[in-house]
């Protein structure tokens, strides 16, 4: 691609010698607005984040040099390890459950004839609701005494489950709601992957007498692995970033049992006592965690493709 474009570029320059400087300058001008915003609001802050994590501040104006002090403080802070544990538990459960359900639903929806579009829409609808509203609705549904879910469970003789009151159940609740909210998104990606598999493969397998399960394992899963890799990577990133629906669902409680990393960053950065250094250092650690995991995911999915 590059070679052919270089070839077309040189005669153009000769023919349009008078306007050549315009053609040369134009791409930079086209890129300028986007790159300026990018540089100001993403690249500079990303670099400055490392720098800021070496200082401490309680007001965002005066900064004091700490060196690696913030990291030392965080890594010896019990609250941080609690938050890190919550984030890992949440993300791992979220990724596994959301991927499994998305795969299950996508396979079932794909097998539908005329109902395909309808079911696809229904399963996608939760993705559209603003996460803040999702938290509110589920906070109400999971209410211990009179909530919809406990009323329904009571109907079949179960519960009442202390969803948002008990630390362990609260973790179950945010995983459940997170999966409910996001599965439709991953389902769409997998559905597109399923639809791109050549139906001839299945026909051939059927003729050879392969069972439905055998077809799923030997054709669907391997052919779907690129889409699966995308889903697992996205779900990992989304899981680590979760904040908004948890904020209105549990507020991170009870007693910090559902406080995840982003909330930890937000609270240290914007709620008193403000600890800017801790918040930025937390951001750097979160970035490193997401980065390493994404790289591992890539490497694993690459290797699978090679096999």
């Amino acid at each position: 691609m590059t070679a052919s474009q270089t070839r077309t570029a040189s005669p153009r320059r000769k023919t349009w010698a008078s306007g050549a400087w315009k053609t040369k300058l134009a791409p930079y001008l086209f890129l300028l607005p986007n790159m300026a915003i990018f540089a100001t609001f993403t690249i500079y802050p990303a670099i400055n984040g490392f720098n800021m994590s070496l200082y401490s501040s309680s007001n965002g104006r005066t900064f004091k040099w700490e060196g690696l002090g913030n990291y030392q403080k965080i890594l010896t802070d019990q609250e941080f390890w609690g938050v890190a544990r919550n984030t890992v538990i949440y993300t791992v459960s979220f990724v596994v459950l959301a991927t499994v359900f998305a795969l299950l639903i996508a396979t079932l929806v794909n097998a539908q004839g005329r109902g395909k579009t309808f079911f696809r829409a229904v399963f996608f609808v939760p993705v559209l609701v603003s996460p803040v509203a999702v938290g509110l609705i589920w906070n109400w549904i999971l209410e211990r005494q009179n909530g919809l879910l406990n009323t329904a469970l009571g109907g079949i003789g179960l519960g009442p489950v202390p969803w948002l009151v008990n630390p362990a159940w609260a973790m179950v609740a945010i995983i459940m709601v997170g999966v409910w909210m996001q599965t439709g998104f991953y389902m769409l990606i997998l559905l597109a992957g399923l639809q791109s598999i050549d139906p001839v493969l299945f026909e051939a397998a059927k003729m050879d007498g392969a069972s439905a399960w055998r077809q799923f394992r030997s054709i669907t899963l391997p052919m779907l692995s690129p889409s699966m890799a995308v889903v697992v990577i996205l779900a990992t990133i989304h899981g680590f970033q979760s904040f908004d629906f948890i904020w209105t669902l549990t507020g991170g409680g009870p007693v910090g049992a559902t406080t995840l990393m982003v909330q930890y960053i937000y609270e240290n950065g914007f709620e008193s006592p403000i600890r800017y250094g801790i918040a930025t250092a937390g951001g750097v650690l979160l970035f490193i965690a997401v980065f390493i995991l994404t790289m591992i995911n890539w490497a694993v999915s690459r290797r699978q493709e090679a096999v």
Binding site: L31, V132, W140, A279
Partner: protein, 262 residues
């Protein structure tokens, strides 16, 4: 089939429940066991929410931020995409790779440093402070660039021969041809900006600049605000994206399939 229908019900019931609840009075909401259909379909909660808060203000703010950010995103992303797709210049590969790499840096991990920048530019507590920082989306540039690569170079050459300026070629030939990709980027931008929460929460410090999600969360935290009003607000904040989705379902499905953008 049974599994599929059960799943569909699980996906949809909480939302139906919110919708039904938004018509119920506080006493009806507190009833045990809960009633299924509301006693009346009166719009009392909606009108009361309208009168009690600057509801119209939040709605306007949400619309301004969503529309403003989307227009800005489309403008700057498409120009950048055009440069990366159709020009040969020094640094092209590097700039494209940098753009892609920033997908790895979500706002959440650079929350404080971005806030510092926004604060030093005096944009805290303004709608611009919510609009500008997220406008240069890497996924938008990527998607538009991939699409523009499929537009034949001959069209651009022909326009140059006809004496069309560089920007005019972009504006009158490239943009109209990129309409499908622009639509996908626009739909996603609207969907995500509309329900954005963390960044508006950080930027909007006074009520005058609250967006709907920020107002919802703030009022929900104040226990004095009755829940029936919160539900009405929740429904109003959900309906616009729902309508958008129903209209553009096909584009959204292909858009996600192609890029997995969010």
């Amino acid at each position: 089939m049974v599994v599929l229908i059960t799943g569909a019900l699980i996906a949809i019931i909480p939302l139906v429940w919110m919708f039904l609840g938004s018509f119920k009075s506080p006493t009806e909401l507190a009833q045990r066991p809960p009633t299924f259909l509301p006693e009346s379909w009166a719009l009392t909660n909606y009108t009361e929410a309208l009168g009690r808060f600057n509801f119209v203000q939040y709605l306007t703010n949400s619309v301004l931020v969503t529309v403003g950010a989307t227009v800005l995103t489309l403008a700057i992303n498409s120009m950048a995409a055009y440069a990366l797709a159709k020009y040969n210049f020094r640094g092209r590969t590097a700039l494209f790779l940098i753009t892609l790499a920033t997908i790895m840096i979500p706002l959440q991990v650079i929350l404080i440093p971005v806030y510092q920048v926004v604060a030093s530019l005096g944009l805290v507590n303004t709608l611009w402070g919510m609009i500008i920082p997220a406008a240069a989306t890497p996924t938008g540039v990527f998607l538009l660039r991939q699409y523009m690569l499929t537009i034949p170079d001959e069209l651009i050459e022909a326009a140059r021969v006809d004496g069309s300026g560089e920007f005019r070629t972009f504006w009158q030939i490239i943009l109209p041809l990129s309409a499908p990709a622009l639509a996908v980027v626009a739909i996603f931008s609207i969907m995500w900006r509309w329900s954005d929460f963390l960044w508006p929460l950080v930027v909007a410090q006074s009520e005058a600049v609250y967006t709907l999600p920020v107002a919802l969360a703030r009022f929900n935290a104040e226990l004095t605000v009755p829940f029936n009003l919160i539900l009405a607000m929740g429904v109003v904040s959900t309906i616009p994206v729902l309508i958008l989705f129903l209209i553009f379902q096909k584009q959204i499905a292909t858009g996600i399939a192609n890029t997995g953008i969010k």
